[in-house]
Amino acid sequence: MIHPYKLRSGIVFFICCLLFTIIAINLYFIQVYNSAFYMHLAEQQHHVTVSQYPPRADIYDRTGKQLLACNKECVSAFLIPNELKNPEAVTAFLRSHFPQAVAQLKKQKRKPFMYIRRKLTPEQVNVIKQANIPDIKLLTESTRYYPLACAGTVIGMTDIDNKGLAGIELSCDAHLTGEPTTYSLDKDARSGCFYFNRETHISGNPSSPLYLSIDSDLQFLAYKELEQILAKFKSKEGSVIIMDPKTGEILTMVSIPDFDPNETNELDPANTKNRVVTESYELGSVFKEFAALAALEEGVVTLDEEIDCKNAETCFIDGRRINTTHADGRISFRDVIARSNNIGIAIVAKRLQHKIYEHYTRMGFGKKSGLSFPGENPGFVNKPENWSKQSIISLSYGYEVSANILQIARAFSMIANGGYLITPKLKLDGKKPTFPSKPLYSATSLDGIKEIMEHTTTHGTAKRAQKKGYKIMCKTGTANMLVNGEYDKVRNLYTCAGIVERDDYQRVVVAFVKEATGYNLFAATVAVPLFERVTEAMLIHERII
């Protein structure tokens, strides 16, 4: 007979063996049979691969002290649709505060992530916090802040994911974003946001701040002057550019209509254009300056040569009608430009023939300036093979040729700096500007054209631009706008471009206004006052006194 204690111990032993067997089988399944699966799971938990973008770089003005764009934190709301604990409460809340998200939630019911709204206002954040619904979560994201709203068209903006959309933010996106660094982190279940070890897999490039040639104070001053002139003449569009002709640095680039990059909720995309570079216009008489430079360079005219301007406001050359504002008789070529006589310049341009096209393209018209600004309009110069009998006449006083305001500033810079067509610069890279080995025009021709421009300021259409103690060399232009295939005599473009000099100091200023409202308006009454006010603000700001 078996003793009961032996039976009991036998049962206990058997149960223990059975349990150990079950454990062993389980261990076999975990360690051997499903080892690959569990190893992968453990790897996932212990090793996390993270790609981290450096913060988007700041943008500074030329002083290096004034920020033009920087980062700021904003709050976004999200939920995890496939893990909602209280879907009714969430739907009710969304219906009353974020109705657009209700339909989105219906569509994305099984998704693991859904944004309710990004970049929330402080009021919206408060509403969410007060509702205290655990399913609705908040996260902080980085966004951009632009301290100088009047530089909006130059700086541009970023999209909701902080990628450049317009302006410098777009053209320098790679520089501002940097390259992400990929890390492998060793963690355990309790380490939370901490890690035990970090290894760098792919080393990225940190973003570095960008310094622009823009002078923020001058940008603001020019913007205010432009705003006032546009308000005075009930005009909707205008631009101002200030450029250093020796380096090509753009100190001010203002265009209206514009936009505030901090307020992009109801944005008109047309207002995001930097019209100084994205729009090209037939600017009229400003081009007489370039036609005159071409004529002087080719030796087909001298400053003192008397040109017969027919003493009429309208005359016919080669059967083509030419209108001019004032009737002039025989006047010197210097006065032809100063008085902006269309008949006189057309007579001289006929001596140039096809060479006028070569000269316009040599001065940078019809091609991009090299600024690398998004959406630059290269403008247009009518090619000789497309010419009609009218073309040479039109080209002499700024029709059949279109240019953006930057190209005009660039061509004037070429006159100012001794004949070098310099590439305009918005970014300060510390490099010295590279000049071609030979100037494009001879010193004699450039001195001649400067004399004509000075004469235009002292005796011609730009008298209001004069400043005692400074050498101001200007040219004005009033051009009819092309509307539905015809030149409209009421709707005009008004331009005043010039060089401001004193000792070694040189600046090129271009002031432009489109469609001013008023009777008998010319560039002398619209664009020259703007030029004068901007120039004055610039001289005071730069302490050239």
Partner: protein, 93 residues
Amino acid sequence: MKRSLFISIFVATHLSFVFLQIHKHTQFIKQSFSKQKNERLLASLEVKKQHLTQELYIAKNHNAIQEFAKTHLNMAPVRLGQIKKVSHHDPSL
């Protein structure tokens, strides 16, 4: 006696090596956590700095300053003709 002493020293040395290794690892993790805490603190301070920078620029807003100067201080824009350059050698000074 000699043998037991040798074994004791051998074991003690190995134990101390093991202890030092564990201590080193603990210290490493401690320092790593401390570094990570500092990094997080730095990131939060960076956010604060951004916030303060934004507030500073709102306060420095050109439009607001111009408006304040015009309305509260009755200031007007200076014209070029109103500026007189004064030399240090000017006898009238």
